[in-house]
């Protein structure tokens, strides 16, 4: 007995020392780690009425106040919208809208009076809005040459084929090329305040600062670096077909001329949806005492250039103040309130379900 057990032990020891390739040495045994054995500590949420109840109530309780806040904020924003398309016979711009084509040279001006019922206190943003204008059309969106707009001389003279068929006109490269530039909005809007005593005061409109800073300073550049003589720079190019004047005559201010003209930059940022507005001008608040736009009578003078009749579009002028969350849009507030309410309601439903059926399950577990 003793001998045998001793013997086995001896053998055991012997093998572990010298066994060549024995199982003890070259063991394929998998590591006993939590990862390899799929035993990582884990959180195992089980979705039952009982467990998700709090989540629903908490969401409801958080969302409803937020929604109310958003709604109030949105309602505090003052906005005025004037449609000057001139579809109606009564509209002052009716005439302009009728006898219009892209290449008419005679400017048509129309004046639209309006009354501001509430004073606009802070900075006022002036937008032009277009409807039914599919700036997001696939072929339209593509129809531009960013290199050209970035001031690349090479691209200036040889616009990318994306610009086709607006890349060249009469064998000259178009600058800026492409359909987007070609269809640039070119109405001029001016705002006059009619004093209570009848005098017409032009409201100063800021044309700078309406484009993204990065666009103005990085993405868009005039060719030839800082050469102020844009005419020379754009030598050999031609204006887009629909334009009245070449790109270097967009503005007199050299900081706002050529490709870095902010109206142009804003236009080049293609809108996401067919009904959109684009920032046109900013009316800056002068001092805290006087509202930027006091209530009273105003007139909007439009140099009517831009045709929208072909696509039954509408043109609007919008005056709006903005809040931290942008322009006037009560939707998000309503959405928060709605979702919050639904959550709350579902929470109540779950509470009932939990009350009625939740216990059955657990007790069944335990008793079984």
């Amino acid at each position: 007995m003793m001998a045998s057990s001793y013997n086995a032990k001896d053998e055991d020891g012997h093998i572990t020392v010298s066994g060549p390739g024995g199982g003890t040495l070259k063991n394929k045994k998998p590591d006993n780690t939590a990862f390899k054995q799929q035993r990582l500590p884990a959180w195992q949420p089980i979705l039952t009425a009982g467990t998700v109840l709090p989540a629903f109530f908490i969401i409801g309780l958080i969302f409803i106040p937020i929604g109310i806040g958003l709604y109030v904020t949105s309602n505090n924003i003052k906005e005025l919208e004037i449609d000057y398309t001139g579809v109606d016979m009564s509209s002052p711009c009716f005439n302009c809208s009728q006898n219009f084509s892209w290449n008419s040279t005679r400017p048509c001006t129309c004046t639209i009076p309006f009354y501001l019922e509430q004073a606009f206190e802070s900075n006022v943003f002036m937008y032009y809005g277009l409807s039914n204008f599919y700036q997001n059309h696939r072929r339209y969106v593509k129809s531009r040459d960013d290199s050209q707009l970035n001031g690349d001389i090479e691209a200036l003279l040889n616009p990318s084929k994306e610009c086709e068929p607006y890349a060249r006109n009469e064998n000259k490269p178009i600058a800026p090329c492409g359909a987007i530039a070609n269809s640039m909005f070119n109405d001029t809007l001016e705002l006059f305040y009619i004093d209570p005593n009848g005098t017409k005061i032009q409201i100063p409109l800021m044309k700078k600062g309406i484009a993204w800073w990065t666009d103005k300073h990085v993405k868009f550049r005039n060719p030839g670096g800082n050469n102020p003589n844009l005419t020379a720079v754009f030598q050999g190019t031609t204006k887009p077909v629909n334009w009245r004047k070449p790109v270097y005559e967009l503005d007199t201010d050299s900081e706002n001329n050529g490709f870095i003209n902010e109206d142009f930059i804003v236009w080049m940022r293609t809108a996401a949806l067919p009904t959109f507005r684009k920032l046109y001008r900013i009316i800056q608040k002068k001092n805290s005492m006087i509202p930027t736009l006091p209530r009273g009578n105003y007139t909007l003078e439009v140099v009517y250039n831009y045709p929208v009749g072909s696509f039954e579009g509408r043109k609007r002028m919008i005056l709006s103040t903005i809040s931290w969350m942008g322009g006037k849009n009560p939707f998000l507030g309503i959405a928060y309130i709605t979702v919050g309410s639904i959550c709350f309601f579902l929470g109540v439903v779950l509470l009932i379900i939990h009350h009625k059926y939740g216990n059955r399950n657990n007790s069944a577990d335990i008793t079984n």
Partner: protein, 1489 residues
């Protein structure tokens, strides 16, 4: 010397012309070079691409990428669009290239192995590479060499013209096989004479067991060639110093290569289902594109001639008509929406599967310490199929059992020797399994073993000194010990060899042999020996010599190629396998223990042969050769003094090693050796046996009639050295041997004794069978010289016959094996593998149908089936044995009627209910509609077992009958196919798979399972048991059967649910993302514009949202492994495809559309009529979509590990980082759209954050709410399992143990007292049996059926144990008569012998009654019973026999021609003498029927 053989003996195939030419005339046959690679360097790119483009998805993606190059329709930058496709294609190509390179390397290695080939130029054998071997070459093979091709054996150094080969690599059998030199070369003396012969043989085929051909000599003599002459490629030469052969088949024409047709490409069920939904996605895509195209056409149309400024002309400046524009747009939309058919899905699935495989690989529970092997996933693409299996087809031997035969007990001359010590010894091996650790550390195992039997201590020491080791390990402890003790290979484990003799029997053997010695000394005739003693000595002599065991001595160790088994990639060829693998048990002998590669092995081969030739290592064979002259009547009495010391004995005989073709034989020889009756030498014409007192006796071996499966027996004809009588010893299945017993004469005492022996032996046989032992009967017959001469003459005729030799030999054997005298019977245990019954029970609880397909005989199979709980005692068994097509049809018809009558008409509800309650025994499911619905399918599985033999199976698999067969088989709970050929196995699997449309798993360990494994949806090979053929064909290789449980229940479940969820999620994700763009089309004039930047669009799937789903797809666990194993019912989740039902795809689609609506319209309204630009608006939408998609994944994720958190964080971080970098990187690039500084601006916008909070919440609200409701109102079983997981471990254990008790009570063997409380449907009460008779035996021979219930009322309570005996006539003239089988639950069953009921001698009844009073057993009359499987717990039933009064004698009379199941009669009576008489009257009544 052999080399001088003339080269003109060239192989000639198909006899075109017999001309001999200077060069090899066999040039036009395939050479031996093998090439398993798919590609060459040149063909790789085109061929691989071609193959990749077989995948529809790849074609689709390439098509889309190319579409981008068409300017009119392009949506993205063409190069960018090409990137993902190129990426995918190149990854796959690199993977394929690598695999092919590995194949190429292995081919090269094999092709460059050396062998000795006769060179005609040099007139000697030269070393050549394998690939240079050609058909017709002469090859010299040395010991331990691997055969390079299929070689016809022409000469052998073996004096008996034999060559031993090991075919482990081919069929997995590790025993040595003998191959004979071709007959006409048999008598050749070395050097071989000059020959010019032509060999004609059949065309190359893949049948390993068939080879036919002729060798035509110049003189016109034809000699047959048989498979015994053929050495197959891949086999190893063993124990033969040198052999010479001619190459018959080479290279790809060898049988080994033809058998290797590579694995079938399998596509998982989930993938098939997924493909359907991919198809639906295509439809959805097309519909969406069509919608957009029409929309665009209409949009264009509304403007008429007034062309708006934003409608850009074509680059050429021409105007596009709305229709043309719409057509272009259609194509554009396909590009834009391409994400709907997710390119990343296929990549992701592959990645996830590889990870799953990795984790399965790493599972410690699937690692087998004793063989140091773990599970191998060889098929990487069907892991999830593991979770959806419905049918398991299992091999028996080696799969369920260990294929390790252990002698358990025997009965000699009607006296049973229970071998209690032996039983205890065996039990201890089992015990050691559980206590292995302590045992090993304290050496306690050995101590305890020794305390049980004193024989052991000596043995243990001896064994540790000798170089023996185990073949297959029975227990882990044993294995450990064995591996410690020796690294060398031998055949049997100690468990199989160390039989503890029964002291009583041992005494008798000693007494007997001393008497014999005495008689021989006094020259007394041996017949004076008392008959019981002579039976005993005859019994052991028969055990010793009636076999084909080869004796070898350890001085001549079996050399085996030793290589580590490191399969890294699927092995494609047999050579590959040879090269890479040798299981540890195949480790070579002492002198080559260090060799680990082929090269070193070669040198050790030479070492081996030198050892063989050196005088120091004289082989047993040469030793015995010297004794050869001393044969016949000159008895070779060696002067070995009789000794009784086990130690000395073992010291001498322990040196010998037995190598048998079947483990049974070895077991018996070892058993005989334990009784000092040991086989010491075997020659073709002589067997030497060493007996106590008598010393070595040499038996002249006149004939060996080998075992075949039709005769089910083998015989040897020897001349007995002591009595000089010609004696036939026969060993075989009890069913056949009992038929062949000489009917004892009734008049004299000897006859009475004989009859008693027969009765009692049969009785014990039933007992053994009840214990699940494999029973063998031993019989002898003494021939007179005249009889022998008469038989011999005809036998020789048969032997020399060319036509129909097999049949003639068969008949000759039948003539010899008659009128035998029964000596005794043995019970051999084929031990079940660890945990097999538990595994089967739990797999069955998991809703899996388990079929056992075995090549084994019916009786054994049934026994094992009971032992492993495949068949339950209370189950009825339908046995189908038919010998003709019509009979089979009839049987199937009857069975079907029977099942219908029994179950469908009478007790469908009850049956279904019982079944349901059993399977859904875990009652925590308040309502489980899925499981109940799955069982109310038209085919309810009944408590029925079906047993069918191979012959009947062949008929049943016929086209006309297969439907019926299936109908019968599928209504049975378990199906047992016995005696089935490999082909039949695969046919059964194929049939079930194709007809029932179920998922099938085949598991097996041997070469005979290969075809089945390949056919099944999932093939599982048991590794390390029988060669590697099964493993090589399999998709998964397991070290043990019990690992199947975890593989299926845990990993299968996980893989399935993970992948199913991931696929669904993918569809959702892509649909949701694409739908965003679709909604946008309404606001961009259906122009195909996208507000999402093209980079986001293309990389959203590949990068931003890819990682979390991969992590979840890889790691998510819906239920913990413990719960899954303890609640196998959860597996049905996968079987019923509950995670991924067709409607779920649509639900997900709807949800995706809803969510995308939310994600689109919330930003839409929030930004409506603002100055937002395209990408400043689109980027928030992308972000929102990402958040929503990730949160959606969060809802679907069941377990959150840090990996999940990390991956989600990483995804979001990645998106923002990429977005910020991308938006800051370059103001001019990425034309045409340039989102410069967009993200930076957005991050300063409070609105963006407000949107990011509300949108995902609003989008996921319905799903979240639904999940919560579902979790409470109608939780799925899986959810209940998850809830269990959450409970504290203590509580969970309690619940689970409770449920287990419940389940166990229903599935496990029930203690009778418990079962009293459990009402069972009446149909289940009785171990009814059904006998069918075919037309041949139906007339009047249908035996009566008697069942007797000894446990009284318990039969009403479901734990009845009636005794049932079926009688059906089995006449000698009709060896294939259909046979009926039944279950007996009472062990004491006795069948009266008799050829027909009518011939039953009246006196039998008396003896019956006598027997009955002696022991409470019953007797049934009138016919032979062919199988007597018994309930394993029969013993316990007997113990619980009520003390008095309550017993009943229940008689069932059954006529199979009538509606079964309705006509039984239950007649409760008191168990009195009177009643017994009544029963006897019944007998007589029935007998006269």
């Amino acid at each position: 010397g052999v080399g001088e053989k003339d080269t003109e003996t060239l192989g000639k195939f198909e006899a075109e012309n017999g001309l001999w030419r200077e060069e090899n005339p066999n040039r036009h046959y395939a050479n031996n070079k093998i090439k398993t690679t798919k590609y060459t360097l040149l063909s790789f790119l085109p061929k691989n691409l071609f193959e990749q483009f077989h995948r529809f998805a790849n074609v689709y993606f390439v098509f889309i990428a190319l579409l981008n190059f068409v300017p009119v329709v392009n949506a993205f930058q063409p190069e960018l669009a090409l990137a993902p496709v190129v990426f995918i294609l190149s990854v796959t190509a690199i993977k394929d290239l690598w695999e092919d390179y590995r194949r190429h390397r292995s081919d090269k290695e094999i092709n460059h192995m050396d062998c000795l080939v006769y060179s005609r130029l040099e007139r000697r054998y030269v070393e050549r590479y394998w690939k240079e071997v050609r058909v017709g070459d002469f090859i010299r093979l040395r010991c331990n060499e691997i055969l390079p091709a299929d070689v016809l054996l022409l000469s052998s150094s073996d004096p008996d013209r034999l060559c031993h080969i090991e075919t482990a690599t081919l069929d997995g059998e590790t025993n040595l096989k003998q191959r004979q030199v071709v007959r006409s070369f048999f008598d050749l003396v070395r050097p071989l004479l000059f020959y010019n012969s032509i060999i004609e043989c059949e065309k190359p085929n893949n049948d390993l067991n068939r080879f036919r051909g002729y060798i035509i000599h110049r003189n016109g003599r034809r000699d047959g060639l048989y498979k015994e002459n053929l050495l197959l490629r891949g086999c190893t030469i063993r124990n033969t110093e040198e052999a010479v052969g001619i190459v018959i088949y080479a290279g790809h024409e060898t049988k080994a290569m033809l058998n290797n047709n590579g694995p079938r490409y399998k596509r998982s069920k989930l993938e098939r289902q997924m493909n359907v939904d991919v198809f639906w996605c295509v439809i959805i895509l097309l519909v969406m594109c069509l919608f957009a195209a029409v929309g665009h056409g209409l949009w264009m149309f509304q403007y008429g001639d007034k062309r708006p400024v934003f409608d850009v002309l074509s680059p050429e400046g021409t105007d596009l008509s709305p229709i043309l524009s719409a057509i272009y747009l259609f194509l554009t939309m396909i590009i834009v929406f391409q994400v709907l058919i997710p390119i990343s899905l296929f990549v992701s699935i592959e990645i996830v599967k590889i990870c799953q495989v990795y984790f399965i690989h790493q599972d410690m529970d699937l690692y087998d310490e004793e063989t140091d092997s773990h599970l191998q996933c060889r098929a990487l693409n069907i892991t999830e199929d593991l979770g959806q299996m419905q049918y398991i087809f299992s091999d028996k031997t080696g799969t369920l059992t260990e294929n390790k035969m252990v002698f358990r007990r025997c009965t000699v001359a009607g006296v049973e020797y229970s071998h209690d010590a032996n039983a205890r010894r065996l039990a201890m091996y089992q015990e050691m399994d559980s206590e292995e650790e302590e045992c090993m550390s304290h050496g306690g195992t050995l101590t305890r073993r020794d305390s049980v039997t004193s024989h052991q201590s000596a043995r243990v020491v001896l064994r540790s000194q000798s170089t023996k080791s185990h073949r297959r390990t029975g227990s882990r402890a044993e294995a450990k010990r064995a591996s410690i003790l020796s690294k060398h290979t031998a055949f049997s484990s100690p468990m199989e060899k160390d039989i503890t003799p029964d002291p009583q029997l041992l005494d008798k053997v000693n007494e007997c042999s001393s008497q014999l010695d005495f008689m021989r000394f006094h020259s007394q005739p041996m017949s004076q020996l008392p008959s019981d003693l002579s039976d005993i000595i005859d019994f052991f002599i028969a055990l010793t010599i009636c076999n084909t065991v080869v004796v070898s001595s350890p001085n001549q160790p079996r050399q085996k190629v030793r290589m580590r088994f490191e399969l890294k990639s699927p092995v494609k060829t047999i050579e590959d396998f040879i090269k890479r693998f040798t299981p540890s048990r195949l480790t070579s002998g002492s002198n080559s223990s260090s060799s680990s590669s082929l090269i070193t092995n070669r040198s050790s081969n030479r070492g081996c042969s030198s050892v063989l030739s050196s005088p120091s290592a004289e082989s047993t064979l040469t030793k015995l050769d010297e004794e050869r002259p001393a044969r016949g009547l000159e008895h070779a009495f060696s002067p070995v003094p009789p000794n009784y010391e086990g130690k000395t004995w073992a010291a001498e005989e322990g040196e010998l090693r037995y190598e048998a073709e079947s483990p049974d034989e070895a077991a018996l020889v070892y058993a005989a050796r334990a009784y000092k009756c040991s086989l010491v030498g075997r020659l073709p014409d002589q067997v030497t046996v060493e007996l106590p007192h008598l010393g070595k006796l040499s038996f002249e071996l006149l004939h060996t009639l080998g075992f075949d499966s039709t005769r089910k027996r083998m015989s040897v004809v020897v001349r007995h050295p002591l009595t000089d009588q010609i004696t036939v010893y026969t060993k075989g299945a009890d069913s056949v041997i009992m038929d062949l017993i000489k009917p004892p004469s009734t008049d004299n005492s000897k006859g009475k004794r004989q009859r008693k022996i027969v009765y009692r032996t049969q009785n014990y046989l039933n007992l053994y069978a009840a214990d699940g032992l494999r029973t063998l009967c031993i019989a002898k017959k003494i021939l007179t010289k005249e009889e022998y001469a008469c038989w011999l003459q005809r036998h020789l005729e048969a032997e020399t016959a060319i036509q129909g030799r097999e049949e003639l030999l068969f008949e000759s054997a039948l003539r010899l094996e008659t009128n035998l005298q029964l000596l005794g019977a043995t019970g051999i245990e084929d031990r079940l593998q660890d945990g097999v019954p538990e595994t089967i029970a739990s797999l069955r609880k998991a809703g899996l149908q388990i079929w056992v397909l075995t090549g084994d005989k019916q009786e054994t199979a049934i026994n094992i089936a009971y032992a492993c709980k495949l068949l339950e005692p209370e189950e009825e068994i339908l046995t189908l044995n038919a010998d003709s097509q019509e009979a089979c049809a009839l049987l199937l018809e009857e069975s079907l009627h029977y099942i219908q009558a029994k179950f469908l008409c009478t007790s469908t509800d009850q049956a279904a209910k019982t079944f349901h309650s059993e399977f859904a025994a875990f009652d925590i499911y308040p309502s489980s509609p899925p499981s109940s619905s799955s069982h109310t399918s038209p085919f309810t599985v009944h408590r029925l077992g079906l047993v069918i033999d191979g012959r009947t199976l062949a008929y049943a698999l016929d086209k006309n009958l297969e439907d019926k067969f299936l109908a019968v088989a599928r209504s049975c709970r378990s199906v047992l196919c016995c005696r089935s050929t490999p082909l039949q196995k695969s046919m059964v699997v194929k049939l079930v798979r194709n007809k029932l449309k179920v998922m099938t798993l085949a598991i097996g360990d041997g070469a005979n399972d290969v075809s089945m494994i390949q056919v099944a949806d999932v093939g599982v090979g048991i590794s390390g048991q029988e060669g590697m053929q099964a493993v090589m064909a399999s998709d998964f290789a397991l070290p043990r059967f019990q690992y199947l449980q975890k593989l299926l229940l845990v990993h299968g479940h996980w893989c399935y649910s993970r992948l199913a969820n991931m696929i669904l999620y993918f569809f959702y994700k892509n649909a949701m993302f694409v739908a965003l763009i679709f909604w946008y089309q309404f606001y961009c004039g259906f122009s195909g514009s996208a507000m999402i930047d093209q980079w986001y669009l293309i990389f959203f799937n590949l990068m931003f949202s890819a990682f979390p789903q991969l992590i979840t797809g890889t790691l998510d666990k819906d239920v913990s492994a413990e719960t899954l194993q303890q609640l196998p019912q959860l597996y049905m989740n996968g079987q019923n495809s509950e995670e991924y039902k067709p409607y779920m795809f649509w639900m997900n689609m709807i949800d995706a559309f809803y969510q995308s609506l939310v994600c689109f319209f919330l930003p839409y309204f929030a930004y409506a009529d603002s100055d937002v630009d395209l990408f400043t608006w689109g980027t928030p939408i992308t972000t929102l979509a990402l958040f929503t998609i990730l949160l959606h994944l969060g809802i679907e994720t069941k377990t959150w590990t840090w990996m999940n958190w990390a991956s989600i964080t990483f995804s979001i971080a990645l998106f923002f980082t990429v977005a910020l970098c991308y938006n800051a990187s370059c103001p001019t690039c990425y034309s045409p759209s340039n989102p410069y500084w967009t993200m930076q601006r957005l991050l300063q916008d409070p609105l963006f954050y407000m949107l990011c909070v509300i949108t995902p919440l609003a989008a996921l609200l319905p799903r979240y709410f639904y999940r919560a409701c579902q979790g409470t109102l109608f939780p799925s079983p899986v959810q209940v399992g998850r809830q269990l997981d959450k409970l504290p471990s203590e509580t969970r254990r309690n619940i689970l143990s409770l449920s287990r008790v419940k389940v166990g009570a229903q599935l496990g063997p029930k203690p009778p007292f418990l079962s009293l409380l459990k009402p069972f449907p009446k149909d289940y009460n009785h171990k009814d049996q059904k006998s069918f008779s075919n037309s041949k035996t139906a007339q009047g021979c249908q035996g009566p059926v008697l069942q007797m219930d000894n446990v009284g009322k318990s039969h009403q309570k479901g734990q009845s144990s009636p005794l049932g005996v079926t009688h059906s006539k089995k006449g000698l003239s009709d060896p294939y008569t259909f046979v009926s089988t039944e279950i007996d639950t009472l062990p004491y069953t006795k069948e009266a012998p008799g050829h027909t009921g009518e011939s039953q001698p009246p006196s039998t009844k008396d003896s019956d009654c006598l027997d009955k009073t002696l022991d409470p057993s019953d007797l049934s009359l009138s016919s032979w019973i062919t199988s007597t499987p018994l309930l394993t717990q029969g013993d316990s039933v007997q113990v619980t026999l009520p003390p008095a009064g309550g017993s009943q004698c229940v008689t069932y009379k059954r006529n199979s021609e009538e509606t079964p199941g309705l006509d039984h009669t239950v007649r409760p009576t008191r168990r009195t003498e009177e009643q017994l008489a009544n029963c006897s009257k019944d007998h007589s009544l029935q007998t006269t029927l």
